[in-house]
Amino acid sequence: MGKVHEITVWTSGVVKDKEGRDVANGLARAGQIEGKFVQAFDNYVDLPDRVNVPVRKYARLSDEEIEMRYEYENHHPEVVVLVTDAIVKGMNVLRGMPKGGVLVVNTPRKPEQILKFVPNKELLKALVCVDADGIAGKATVDFSGTEGGVDATALGAGVAAPLLGAIARATGLVKLQSLEQVVANKAALKSGYEQAIVHTLN
């Protein structure tokens, strides 16, 4: 089995659950378009979510078949995405990250303001701040896609679109062109790609 790129998305239960799911699903679908082997799923133990509870969504991308059988959590995420910035205070979000990872945060704040709340910042290669709430305007709330269901609303219609753009720019895991094929709000995707502040560390 080749290298599996693990992406963990932290989001707030119910109010931004759909957005977190869209980030994981968007990355996976874009990877699929590029011919990669992909997985995207919710964290089982976090469900059912309650309003504001920190929940995780996972995505995996690989050039070869993913053979991680019976592993339902990303233990070594190389990219961590925070759909709600305040989670950086409440959780050890970089747990298990190998050195040289990337943290992407949806925040109007400067990277330095986020960085002071990250205790293990030596693990990070880059911290990316993007004001996805400001770009997209409103978070989509939809429960139809929870626990493996099919989403009734479009993928990436809200906050997830600029975040996906920022991830594409900072990590290069998927191309912007392939994201454009799966994300509904293409203008927000591009704005996120362009407006993301990439703060390089180490």
């Binding site: 707030s12 920190p54 950086v88 747990r95």
Partner: protein
């Protein structure tokens, strides 16, 4: 007998040690995006926040002169801000404060 390591112990719903005032296995302070901030000069101790807080995070202090906020369990639902009769409570973003870091290894 197999002993469950402490970091893997999860309480069953409702089956938690009692009676205790604060349930250490159920800290929810890390859910918060916004927190309520009190302006003591405006507060007239109407006790609406104490009555309405779903997690009893507003309590009257021992000298009964002010209401005290519990940062470890407040989820930031902001019901208290909504119910405050004198506009003494307002919301502020959690990242504006250095304190109130409840860094857990597990979400709950």
């Amino acid at each position: 007998m197999y002993v469950i390591p402490e970091h893997k112990q999860v309480p069953f719903a409702g089956c938690t040690p009692a009676p205790v005032k604060e349930q250490r296995m159920m800290i929810t302070g890390n859910w918060r995006t916004y927190r309520p901030v009190i302006n003591r000069e405006e507060c007239n101790l109407c006790m609406n926040c104490v009555a309405y807080c779903p997690d009893a995070c507003w309590q009257l202090s021992e000298d009964e002169q002010e209401v005290v906020w519990n940062s470890e369990y407040c989820k930031g639902c902001l019901i208290c801000v909504n119910e405050c009769t004198h506009g003494a409570l307002s919301k502020a973003h959690e990242l504006d404060f250095e304190d109130g870091v409840v860094r857990l290894e597990k979400p709950f």
